[in-house]
Symmetry: C2
Subunit: 131 residues, 2 copies
């Protein structure tokens, strides 16, 4: 495991542009250290990036992703804040379960469409055989 990654290494690994990584930095989502002016990303930053991209794939906005990723830090020290965090987690969980449900529905819909296609193909095949 490397100690640091350059910006282009990350762009290649995750298929994002440098612009994107710098944008995430401006937004406070990433904070690579600097060697001079150059950015160097630690494995921890690389992991954060992975989390960000995972959030993107799930259709979360950057501010939502920020909230989610922020949850992964050290838990707060105060009881009230802890309960608040647990609440937020519950909310996110509801969203995620909804999304999962939507996925299952879409998958089964697509399966239905494919079945239709295949039976249509079979029918065309028979028609062709009959000629």
């Amino acid at each position: 495991m490397k100690e640091f990654y350059t910006i282009t290494e990350l762009t290649r690994e995750f298929d994002v542009t440098t612009r994107t990584l710098r944008f995430y930095e401006d937004e406070g989502m990433l904070s690579p250290i600097r060697k001079g002016r150059q950015r160097l990303y630690s494995p921890a930053q690389r992991t954060r990036l992975k989390l960000i991209l995972r959030g993107k794939r799930l259709g979360f906005s950057l501010s939502e992703i920020r909230e989610i990723v922020d949850m992964y830090r050290e838990p707060p020290g105060e009881t009230g804040q802890l309960w608040l965090l647990i609440d937020k987690i519950a909310e996110r969980r509801v969203e995620l379960l909804q999304k999962r449900h939507d996925i299952e529905a879409t998958l089964s819909d697509l399966e239905g469409v494919e079945m239709g296609c295949r039976s249509r193909l079979a029918q065309l095949g028979v028609d062709a055989d009959e000629l």
Copy 2:
């Protein structure tokens, strides 16, 4: 089951604005009939809207959603087109499985965070008991 829905009925049911519905119409995603100038949405249109919103929740863009929803129409009559459609379905399925995988990962991450919170709470509770 009603025969037609007005625009505001749909906005209330699905918590979207009229602007959104008209925008979807401009984009060719919905095509309500008209009673004079007024829009009336059939149950079929309502179902299309449901599909659109489901796609949105999954983070698909409108053009992606358009592609997906278009799949639900009558399957094409030509063999080549049928295979093409089957191909597209396979692609979408890959995406959906990826999303589902991402969801599982996020859910288990969140569970981990919550466990951390709860043990921290327990610890604080003990500390309090000891005072």
